[in-house]
């Protein structure tokens, strides 16, 4: 009995010591939830790589990056968020990769009073009409910002009628909604809308119907390499109008799969993808270089999705010094201070200049988009 008791005492002492030491100067714990497996893995993997590049100290404070994979699954993302808050006592959550998972995590973060920076696209995540989103920020450009760029380009090219083919999911529907809003304002008519699935083995039916409507231009609302399927079919069916894609396809794998059928396609992208082609006066040329050179040195070709994780770090790096004045990491005072500081951020990241305000928790403007054309398997900025 005696040895057991003394062992217990020893354990208690060690526990007390380990608790007491960080209380004096606690680490900052950042919980990261991302989709490194499952359907969104092509987005989540570069984000995960980017987290590995991040420094382990901000403003002289040690930072622990605790990364969990949600498998592109909404339920798992919520479980991960709860686990990070309850077990790891995180001060801030970065994630998740995709919109449905991020939307579901809002309740968890807001309830616990933990600030959250999403890396998903939908504007709904930071919708100011929802009181819970006080705690939520996001780094990717809103779809509306990108849709306006596409419509402006269509107008400049004299397009009067548009056909749309997109994913039969939240991404495709979201883009269709934004296009309907934006084209209405510009006086362009949407003459045909079609849906397809990421794993479809053929889109012949949809494409035949689109081509039969004879639109001046066609927008493909898809993310990643599946965006190539309708594009190749359109070319095979001899469609001669302009083809637009969304920024969701801006990765090297799309170029590889679409091959020469991609030539001439127009799409809006975050500036980091083509930072070399930006004028020297653009501040994003430097910030884009900072990120891309670090990433490419270790992981190969750049991905814009990794940039969203990098930008989450930029937001934190500017906000944490102010938050440290409000309280110790690990306390509610620090988390509230961090939230308040994030709302005042004004920082240039890889994708654009973030100017946060209580009414705008994304903070990106037109500087966060560039129209590019695919030419010989490369992204070329449209002047």
């Amino acid at each position: 009995m005696i040895p057991k008791q003394s062992r217990r005492a020893g354990v208690a002492l060690a526990l007390a010591a380990s608790l007491a030491a960080p209380l004096a100067w606690a680490d900052i714990n950042v919980g990261v939830v991302l989709s490194a497996t499952g359907p969104a893995a092509s987005l989540g993997i570069p984000e995960k790589n980017t987290i590995e590049l991040l420094p382990t100290a901000i403003a002289g404070q040690k930072v622990n990056w605790i990364v969990l994979d949600d498998g592109s699954d909404t339920t798992k993302a919520v479980t991960n968020a709860r686990k990070l808050i309850a077990e790891d006592k995180v001060d801030v959550i970065v994630g998740s990769t995709i919109t449905p998972a991020s939307l579901a995590m809002i309740d968890v973060a807001a309830e616990a009073g933990v600030p959250m920076i999403s890396m998903a696209a939908s504007a709904k995540i930071v919708d100011p009409a929802n009181p819970k989103t006080k705690w939520i920020f996001k780094t990717p450009q809103n779809d509306s910002l990108m849709a306006d760029a596409i419509v402006a380009s269509m107008k400049a090219n004299g397009v009067k009628t548009v056909g749309y083919i997109g994913f039969a999911d939240a991404y495709g529907d979201g883009w269709l909604g934004e296009m309907q809003r934006s084209t209405k304002a510009a006086g362009i008519e949407i003459v045909a809308t079609e849906k397809y699935n990421r794993t479809d083995s053929s889109v012949t039916g949809q494409v035949l119907k689109l081509v039969a409507a004879k639109p001046d231009a066609i927008l493909i609302g898809a993310a990643g390499t599946p965006g190539a399927t309708p594009q190749k079919e359109l070319v095979a069916r001899g469609y001669k109008g302009k083809i637009y894609q969304t920024h969701g396809v801006a990765n090297p794998d799309f170029l590889r799969v679409v091959g020469k059928d991609g030539d001439g396609t127009l799409l809006p992208v975050g500036p980091m993808l083509v930072y070399e082609q930006l004028p020297d006066t653009n501040p994003l040329k430097k910030t884009g270089h900072d990120y891309v050179s670090k990433y490419e040195e270790k992981f190969g070709t750049r991905s814009t999705f990794g940039g969203h994780a990098w930008d989450a770090y930029q937001l934190l790096a500017q906000a944490i010094p102010a938050a440290l004045k409000a309280g110790q990491p690990g306390t509610a005072a620090f988390r509230t201070g961090l939230r308040d500081a994030l709302e005042k951020d004004d920082v240039a990241g890889a994708h654009g200049v973030f100017v946060m305000s209580p009414g705008n928790h994304n903070g990106l403007d037109e500087r966060a988009r560039v129209m590019v054309r695919i030419q010989d398997g490369k992204w070329v900025v449209v002047k």
Binding site: P39, S42, K195, T199, S201, S202, V203, T204, G205, Q206
Partner: protein
């Protein structure tokens, strides 16, 4: 819709239907002989396409690691069971069969990959590499539980499907690939155009079906498999080893799946996880055939392909819903018309 669009849709439907038909045949074959619902067939389709794509890019396909791992595991299992049965003199041939052959294929693929052999040789390498997985998976996963109930076998199949899908992500990455077309010409017949690729797919699928037919009706091995499918115990009594039948069946099924992957690669972008949906459509075809009839299964799969093509034209948002709703009236019809017999377990 005019006649030309209808013809194009029908052509598209037949092309995909032919691929689903091959898968339906593989599923019926495996179920008939071993009572396994072969859920992982979809993964083998993806592996087929992605292995060919890797070879085409001059890279060693990641699944070679799985081949090596599975070969080592199967050899260990064989050695242990052989020694337990005190059949030491059979040890060497078994080690050569279970370890030597797959490892030789793995070595050949690894050696040939950077040399960028012609497309035809790449296809043969792909078929050998993915086809070799079939018997190995059977030896490791299914043979030890060959007498379990259909439900247990199904659950194991689902587990194997998840394992192979996860490994697929690890081996091939999250992004999809396409393989080069076997034929890019367009043939004009009157006002209709046929793509040579579609004709190639339909012709090779038909050829594969004929080969299977000959195999099952004209050869001793084929007849042995059919005998096992009709009556397992009876087949055993006349000297057909069920393990042997299972091994041959899984080899054939894996080859068929890999071949589907090779055929579908030039038509669409294939991801590590897209095989599942493709095999589900083959499964709908197989269900139409009641999981026993080869001609009905093939016809059902062609029907699924056609429905899919026309559904994608008329109501693209509901395409999958339409295809999979199809299974309900078929199941109703089958359960009303066919005699229900309890499985003896």
């Amino acid at each position: 819709m005019d006649a030309q669009i209808a013809a194009l849709l029908a052509q598209d439907g037949f092309t995909n239907g032919a691929i689903y038909a091959l898968l339906a045949l593989a599923l019926v074959l495996v179920f008939a002989v071993t009572r396994v619902i072969f859920v992982p067939s979809g993964e083998l389709v993806s592996y087929g396409t992605l292995t060919l794509a890797a070879l085409d890019a001059g890279k060693t396909p990641g699944m070679v690691k799985l081949l090596v791992g599975a070969a080592v595991l199967a050899t260990v299992i064989e050695v242990v069971s052989t020694l337990r049965r005190r059949e030491a003199r059979r040890l060497l041939p078994r080690v050569l069969l279970w370890g030597g052959v797959p490892l030789a294929i793995a070595a050949l693929v690894t050696w040939a990959a950077p040399l960028k052999p012609p497309l035809f040789a790449q296809v043969l390498l792909t078929l050998a590499a993915v086809g070799a997985l079939g018997p190995l998976l059977y030896r490791i996963v299914y043979q030890p539980i060959a007498d379990a109930s259909v439900l247990v076998l199904l659950i194991v199949s689902v587990a194997l499907h998840l394992v192979l899908a996860g490994l697929g992500l690890y081996f091939f990455g999250a992004e999809g690939s396409r393989t080069p077309a076997f034929a890019s010409a367009q043939l004009a017949v009157g006002s209709m155009t046929f793509s040579a690729q579609s004709l190639f797919v339909v012709a090779t699928s038909a050829l594969a079906i004929v080969v299977l037919y000959v195999l099952f009706n004209r050869t001793l091995y084929g007849k042995a498999l059919r005998a096992t499918a009709v009556n397992r115990i009876g087949a055993r009594l006349v000297g057909i080893a069920p393990d042997f039948a299972g091994t041959v069946t899984f080899t054939l099924a894996a080859l068929l799946c890999a071949f589907c992957g090779v055929l579908i690669g030039p038509i669409t972008t294939v991801y590590y996880d897209s095989g599942f949906l493709i095999s589900l459509k083959g499964f709908v075809g197989a269900i139409i055939g009641g999981l026993v009839s080869y001609p009905l299964a093939a016809a059902g799969a062609l029907f699924v392909g056609l429905i899919e093509a026309f559904a994608s034209f008329y109501a693209s948002a509901f395409k999958e819903v339409i295809v999979f709703t199809l299974i309900i009236p078929v199941l109703l019809w089958r359960s009303l018309t066919s005699h229900h017999h309890e499985e003896d377990e």
